[in-house]
Amino acid sequence: MPGQVGAIDNLEKEELKFGFIKLTDMAPLAIAYEKGYFEDEGLYVQIEAQANWKVLLDRVINGELDGAHMLAGQPLGATIGFGTQAHIITAFSMDLNGNGITVANDIWQQMKQHVPMEGGKPVHPIKASALKPVVDQYKSEGKPFNMGMVFPVSTHNYELRYWLAAGGIKPGYYAPPQDISGQINADALLSVTPPPQMPATLEAGTIYGYCVGEPWNQQAVFKGIGVPVVTDYEIWKDNPEKVFGVSKAWADRYPNTHLAVVKALIRAAMWLDADNNKNRPEAVKILSDSAYVGADYDVIANSMTGTFEYEKGDKRPLPDFNVFFRYNATYPYYSDAIWYLTQMRRWGQINEHKPDSWYMEVAKKVYRPDIYMAAAKELIAEGKAKNSDFPADDESGFKPPQGEFIDGIVYDGSKPNEYLAKFAIGLKGKQRVVDGKVVE
């Protein structure tokens, strides 16, 4: 096919280096490499594990990495200047769901008394209201209740906060630029730990629980050091998780290369979800290689093959724990971006009122469905995908209002301020955090 060769000929840059964090949701990168999808597009890609999310973001900004597996909040946070200021964009959403919240064994023992049981097993989803008495106990004894998440603008931070707040536990506010610890008025003190170190930190007793991606919840079960109490699928069904981020400057300089990368990643995601997860065992084998995630096959397989093990021995089917392609998982929806922005606002990372139009603007600046659709069109033209695999051409980028949250609150991406007003805990309207207090 001469047309195909023509496209490959126009690549501005062929040797690329992508970063990732050791988590199962980096799978599209590993698969695109191992299955030769990158090479099919004429790209010679190196994939390199990074120490933590901060290092990864810095390296994308300073150009050591061409792109990376990122937390959905990272391109948004960087673009609006929370933490690091740099214009990062994404044209590819890497997966839905895939996280869990794990607590230490003795915390679980104390929580269990407040969890409804059925047939000897706890009824899921377990709400944070079961944890509240434990946190209150710690508070009355003057002891801090420490929990871990992976990065200030991580999905995990927002999911953990969402779950805690839904159960009446205050996770604390940010007040940038003076206070970016996120612990103002907090019942539970959240701090940053890189994902692969979570089990070790829990084991050391520095934190009593954490929210992290796989396989680091199942690892805690295997090691016998903690119990995953809830998955993010139960906190918000089919929530957006990681994205593939590149700097805006990079994307402007290498548009054809960017397109080729997105094409390869779409094919990898399709492979991961093909025929009811038929390829997942093979994917698990690839991920267990020490160059990728490196955990044992059994640990990774637990969540990647459609199950999830809560308390040791309590393994339940959860076919959508990791979604890579179905339900348009790879399409960068504006409404997903706006949800992250609402949570940044809710917890004070954005410490002033913004009009609804601002949320739209930022989402459109960072999320690039146009690039995604261009890549999809090429795949359809090459016969590698079908029209029906992708959203329609007139996709608005806004999912219909979603109601499947653990607290039942309905999210409509087109009305961010109205959404914020529905929460009992969290900033809303014109509220700001000043000198450690919430003021109107």
């Binding site: 040797e15 300073n62 692969p196 016998g224 995630v293």
Partner: protein, 338 residues
């Protein structure tokens, strides 16, 4: 002939084999066997005891990744790392084969197409990491020597210069590599713009410069001491002969100070090797340090064994480096023990 061999063995530090040569020579066998027992027998015996102790202690330590690996488990990890290496090399061959085929296809379609052979993109294996670390440590060490020797000579020759530099040396000498690293990283990122064709990776530069900063002090101090303690008579001879400055350095100062300089370099290389592993771990720069950190993060049932393999590798390579420097030191100290 045999005496020369013994001399060679003594200089290179392979003194273990001296009794063997002497036995072949027919020297009093009883005395030599005793020497052999001292040189090889006792260390081997001690090592075996260590392995047995390790084995029995390891079985009793339960970590969250299983029992602590004993010597046998660690040895099997060496095997699996080697297998890994060969498997990766096969993949590399296949990679180049695919690339060649693709280039050919491209050329048949558009004869004037610009084709290039791209380097292999797969993961570095354990052996690759060892090579990277060695290359980095020698680059850093070379840079350190290049800076430290001239500075040391200046310090040794001029009291004023020495007094001026002394506080800086005293302050910077004890700084840990972990403190240098962020500074070096930021400066390298700011000053060094890398692109597709740059000579060095940024990560290589940060590791190497950190090694330089930490390892130049022993060479610098020893050189200064060596130069300042040159026999005053020699200096006076130089003055009488009215040698110019560079001849004085070349003919008198350097030869007399060489034993000291090499002692300093030996210490420097030792420090550099230790610093490098720490720097690689912290900055995630390629090399053995990154290997250790990645395995710690993997938390698989093989991780602990692999980390132990790395510990032994680091130790053995450090030992070999020290032997090499020791041999050089012996060669240049002209029989003077330091």
């Amino acid at each position: 002939m045999n005496n020369q061999l013994i001399k060679f063995l003594n200089i290179t530090g392979l003194t273990w084999f001296v009794p063997v040569v002497r036995i072949c020579q027919g020297d009093n066998p009883q005395q030599q066997i005793k020497a052999l027992w001292m040189a090889i027998g006792i260390p081997t015996f001690a090592f075996i005891i260590f392995l047995l102790l390790w084995n029995s202690v390891a079985q009793q330590i339960q970590t969250s990744l299983g029992t602590l690996p004993g010597p046998v488990a660690v040895w099997t990890e060496v095997d699996s790392l080697m297998e890994d290496h060969y498997a990766e090399r096969e993949k590399e061959v296949a990679f180049y084969e695919r690339q060649r085929a693709r280039n050919e296809k491209k050329l048949t379609q558009t004869p004037d197409a610009n084709v290039k052979i791209r380097p292999y993109t797969g993961k570095p294996t354990y052996l690759d990491q060892i090579v990277t670390s060695l290359y980095t440590v020698f680059s850093g060490f070379f840079l350190a020597t290049l800076v430290a020797v001239p500075l040391g000579i200046l310090c040794g020759m001029s009291r004023v210069f020495n007094t001026a530099l002394n506080p800086l040396i005293q302050v910077f000498k004890p700084v840990s590599p972990l403190a240098w690293l962020p500074i070096v990283t930021l400066i390298v990122s700011a000053l060094y713009v890398s692109n597709d064709d740059s000579w060095f990776e940024k990560s290589f530069l940060t590791s190497a410069i950190t090694v330089t900063l930490c390892s130049l002090w022993p060479t610098l101090i020893n050189t200064a001491v060596g130069v300042s303690s040159i026999d005053q008579d020699l200096i006076n001879v130089g003055k009488v002969l009215r040698l110019n400055y560079s001849t004085q350095i070349k003919k008198i100062i350097l030869p007399s100070a060489l034993p000291y300089i090499f002692t300093g370099m030996r210490l420097s290389l030792g420090v550099g090797w230790m610093v490098l592993i720490a720097a690689e771990m912290l900055a995630q720069n390629p090399g053995l340090g990154k290997f250790v950190w990645d395995e710690f993060q993997n938390g698989s049932s093989h991780s602990l064994g692999k980390i132990m393999v790395a510990v032994f590798t680091i130790g053995i390579i450090g030992f070999i480096l020290d032997r090499i420097m020791h041999a050089l030191q012996n060669v240049f100290s002209f029989g003077k023990a330091l």
